[in-house]
Assembly symmetry: C2
Homo-oligomer: 350 residues x 2
């Protein structure tokens, strides 16, 4: 794992004279922690709510129903093609809000840092987190930092909790799904997990695969505006097949996916074949499965394609009353059951 | 990664037939994780909002201003006299909300579990977390679980983010603090850090000291109702002296503390002396510093004493225009400056 250290040997960082690595004192509540907060976190994330540095941050949600979502991120490596733990920590959480139809507004950030993490790496993560938050229209309003003893590698864990607002009249959810509804997905599957697998290395092949890590709130707003959306879910850990199983459980209905319509890039298919993974079970970080009224499916696909994150959107399946569960209609026409992911695939992909 | 499998051959635990330890699969998004969610988390924390298992949880805040606070907990050991990481994860976060005058309502819980953690320990933590949440009047509305590789000891980290509601007319904060204001604290200082220090062991002495870990929202509501409160802060990491330094910075005023009035138990004073710690800088998890109008100070102390968490409340100091900063008036009458905690004291106390 010494390979991990590459890129972290940068010289001591602007404004942080404590040496160039995280020490236990950065989490002890005293002067070192306050300096880190002021010189890094406020510099990167600053806004009037955060700058108040109160025990709690006051929000002004206005109209609509507030919604909240939380996720911790433990991805290894911290930096990977297409993203890093900072970008991921924003995208993963705002996407969960977007799936509920909420417009994400505020974010809390909890860092758990391993002693010995380079401040340069922490700075890079913070800059990426801040830029992704700005682009997604969310403010970091409060945070927390803890430091734990050093481990075998440079590590950090991030928790973000997002608060958003669901437009007053919008109703989405499993209760709205009907037999005959269409399944739409916004692009090719498995890219995030493939990128992490390749970045983690130790393989004899090279593949140019980038994580699909992206913030989806604007795409989801566009889908909702296009009309006909019953519910949305993001197929992250466990992938497309596991998320559809959650939908099948929540609705009690069947989901039939057409193998020939499921978008998987040639590179991801290649990586999956080499590593013995199945793209249908590989994690995504910039994908949404939308269930919609069948008459609106074409309009939804067209609406998605107007967004950078939806260029390759397509209809991939249908909701049926029976058989319940999730089914793949193979290229040969037979139905193959897609069960929920058993056990683990690649650990620490998000 | 084959090492992953060892040590998991122990007999199955009630309702959790995957063996009695956390494995990577518990965080992989598949069937193991879903079983953990249903059989432990929903069983302990269940409520209509959480049970929906949506990507985000919808809240109904009603009137008032929403406030949000986040904290991660990395305390070692996981169980200590007076509490555990589950109880602490609720108290720490609802207390931050209470300091802002908010009534805590909802909690998100993010677990990062180390592979090899016993499911019995996780179950105990969850039961404690659930009981503390119920007692504090907060609902767990959404959560997340990640698993990381095993370390040298059984470990877990918890992030909780709390959302509460500040009554519409309540205004608290540093801008309201005036010279002449009184400082009130609800009981003796340093108990949490002393309890952790002793629990961590390796010392030749024994001391019966319990963490003060407690939820303060009801006490804080009582203080606000009594009238005259300008602002409140909980002296956690860095202790009483560091928190007062934060107040001094935020207000630009001076804070004079009377040494003879500062409450410290004989046991904590003894532990502190043996370990070379200063109770004024030792962490608390059930204490509040209230700054109040001087005419209301006696009423505030009386109001505090009506609560179990405020039985030993007392006035301990005064806000002055000059000198700025934090000062201890010693028993001899001289003023000694209390600076912000430098570096670290005991690591991983919360």
């Amino acid at each position: 794992m010494s390979r991990r250290a590459d890129g972290f040997e940068a010289p001591a960082v602007r404004g942080l004279p404590d040496g160039d690595r995280v020490v236990m004192g950065h989490g002890a509540g005293g002067r070192k922690m306050h300096r880190l907060i002021r010189e890094l976190f406020l510099a990167e994330f600053g806004n009037p709510v955060l700058n108040a540095l109160g025990d709690a941050a006051e929000l002004e949600p206005g109209r609509g129903r507030p919604a909240v979502s939380t996720d911790s991120y433990v991805v290894q490596p911290l930096f990977f093609p297409g993203g890093d733990i900072g970008k991921l920590s924003v995208c993963g959480t705002v996407n969960d809000l977007a799936m509920a139809g909420a417009v994400p507004r505020w974010l809390t950030v909890g860092f758990i840092l391993r002693e010995g993490l380079s401040l340069a790496a922490l700075g890079r993560v913070c800059r990426s987190l801040a830029a992704t938050a700005r682009a997604a229209g969310v403010q970091v309003v409060t945070g927390d930092t803890k430091v734990i003893e050093r481990g075998e590698q440079e590590e950090m864990y991030v928790n973000t909790t997002g608060v958003g607002v669901i437009p007053a009249r919008l109703r989405l959810g499993p209760a709205r799904v009907r037999p005959g509804d269409a399944l739409v997905v916004n692009g090719p599957l498995g890219e995030h997990e493939a990128a992490i697998a390749v970045a983690r290395g130790g393989y004899r092949f090279r593949a140019r695969v980038k994580s699909d890590c992206a913030a989806l709130p604007r795409l989801c707003e566009g889908l909702v505006r296009a009309g006909g959306v019953r519910m949305m879910r993001d197929p992250t850990r466990g992938g497309f097949a596991t998320t559809l199983n959650e939908l099948a459980e929540a609705t009690g209905l069947g989901f039939i996916v057409e193998e020939k319509l499921v978008p998987v890039s040639r590179t991801v298919a290649g990586v999956a074949a080499l590593l013995g993974l199945d793209p249908l079970y590989m994690a995504n970080e910039g994908k949404v499965i939308a269930v919609c009224c069948p008459r609106r499916a074409d309009g939804l696909v067209a609406a998605a394609r107007r967004f950078a994150t939806g260029r390759q959107a397509r209809r991939v399946g249908t909701v049926v009353r029976e058989p319940a569960g999730v089914w793949l209609r193979t290229r040969l026409g037979s139905l193959r059951r897609l069960i929920m992911l058993e056990g683990e695939q690649l650990p620490r992909i998000c």
